[in-house]
Amino acid sequence: MSYKIMPKSALNDWVQHLRQKFTIVAPKPKHGQFVFGEVTDASEFALDYPSTVLPPKKYLVPTQEELLSYSLDGSHFEMRTEPVPTVVLGVHTCDLHGIKLLDRIFSQGYTDTHYKTRRNSLYLVSYECFEPCTEHSFCRSMGTLSATDTFDLHIINLGEDFAFEIGTQKGESLLEGFQSIFNVTEVDIERINTVHQEKWQRFPYRLDFDVTELAELLTNSYTSTYWDELGDICLGCGMCTQVCPTCYCFDIHDEVDLTLDGGHRVRTWDSCQIRMFATVAGGHNFRAEQAARQRHRFMRKGKYQEDAYGLVGCTGCGRCAQACLVDITPVKTFNELYKRRNNIAEKETEAK
């Protein structure tokens, strides 16, 4: 683990230094919240921000992406992948865990070329959280409160200075040639250790059980009536999946030119919460009820993704909880299922 130190006062100079080679995106204020967007000056963004409307996954799987263009007579066929080298500044550790999962999803088995190309040109500069970002976050319960090995550079706020933890050569290259970068001293290391130790007590556990029990809990809750209760109140608006850092389902359609000469193949985000998602030929829908769609969503987050990729699908970022207008949240859902399962278990014991 190697560190470098930069005085905070040099942040804007560093941004200008990076701009010579990269597009810089960072959390920018928007109507009382924050969104990742392009910045040209340090005054335009905040590193101490609560959360963003969409996670940085939008730089890996754009909301709408042209995959290829073609001519209808078959004479022309071109894959479109020309990502601009981009530095994402201020990625929270929960979102790092989200990207780690996306990396596995898009590379395991069939490698998604578009994702891979974008991923290679993305430089992730994460930022250590010292306070819960919103009332909805529950990163500590999900084990995402520490940086994972996905980052290129990781920033730790030391008051007057920023410490950079260097994760990769890509990350190291972001500091090369910049004047105000200093070697770390023993005092700095002590400061880094202190802020790390002190932060944990500020983050409460919000799940009533250990996350390692989550997958089994969901398996045992598959037939719970709680899903019907969620189905009754769920608006089916799909905001939960849109803002989720690990939801990646997409749809692909062809946009044929008006002149019928050629067309473009476009990938857009999709959502398992909408009625058409599981509708197949003949109009059959294998998740026709909203209850089944909500159950599917929570099974994905708490079990299926872990089964398939070895990482829990929920990062505890709290975005879906904040977005939901009828207060369907992972914390409430998982705790309620846990409570009900325990009640059933108690009754079974009593019956014996």
Binding site: V53, C237, G238, L258, T259, Q322
Partner: protein
């Protein structure tokens, strides 16, 4: 065009019923931004833009709702002439704001509008054109979205069923990375209303009023609860849901009443 030399441009006609003709204006607008459309279709009747008329056309775009007995005959003629009939905009698709009048007794509404001449006019409850004739597709919105109009025409020319989104506006609004209006102290019908407009109203800070109509199977009870939690009275909720969707929500109500009786 090379490989489609034998392509015969289909004849297209535009018709209007009770409406403001704003959707036809949007069509005119889209012809200016996509003039290549005129290489692919032949417009034979379009009162908003030309004097010529025709009794021969393959595709009819119909704007406006049916609000008089005489409208029914005209709609049936259009239906029997055209191979494809497409409802153009909220009035034709949903009954539109015209259907607000359906919520009050008809004589009262007529007296309000026409005063002592009320008897001269045979207007009745406003309905979408699909209540009178079969339609092959619709382009929602008040007014229609010009890009969606082009997309629908393209799909028709390709012999495809026009694909109109049937998912809630929230999906599209989040793609625009808008901060939810509910978090900004406003209200919005996004969760139950059909997407496809690019969430234009929420993007500019106004809540969705529902001009594109309800999605299939909307959770109306839950939506009403949310609206009331955010400060709307029962009457205000009903008003909110009936600006563009009076005909649709009335249909859902009578279905529910039928189910309980």
């Amino acid at each position: 065009m090379a490989q489609y030399e034998r392509y015969i441009r289909p004849k297209v006609a535009f018709f209007d019923f009770t409406s403001c003709e704003g959707c036809q204006l949007t069509v005119l607008d889209s012809l200016q931004t996509s003039p290549e459309l005129l290489d692919m279709i032949e417009i034979v009747e379009f009162r908003e833009a030309m004097s010529e008329r025709s009794n021969e056309y393959q595709i009819a775009f119909v704007e406006g709702s049916c609000t008089r007995p005489a409208d029914e005959e005209r709609l049936k003629t259009i239906r029997s002439t055209a191979s494809l009939v497409i409802a153009l905009g909220a009035c034709a698709h949903l009954g539109g704001i015209n259907a607000i009048k359906n919520l009050r007794p008809l004589p009262e509404v007529r007296a309000d509008v026409y005063g002592d001449k009320a008897d001269w006019y045979d207007t009745y409850a406003a309905r979408p054109i699909s209540a009178v004739i079969d339609i092959d597709g619709f382009i929602p919105g008040c007014p229609i979205d010009r890009d969606e109009f082009i997309r629908v025409v393209k799909m028709l020319l390709q012999g495809r069923q026009p694909i109109i989104p049937d998912h809630p506006l929230c999906i599209e609004c989040k793609l625009k990375e808008n901060v939810c209006l509910y978090l900004r102290g406003k209200i919005c019908l996004g969760p139950i209303v059909r997407a496809g407009c690019g969430a234009i109203c929420p993007t500019y800070g106004d809540g969705c009023e529902g001009c594109r109509g309800l999605i299939t199977n909307p959770n109306l009870d839950s939506m009403k609860m949310v609206l009331e939690e955010h400060g709307l009275s029962f009457e205000e909720v009903e008003q909110k849901l009936s600006m563009f969707m009076a005909y649709q929500t009335a249909g859902i109500k009578s279905e529910a009443e039928g189910a309980t009786s």
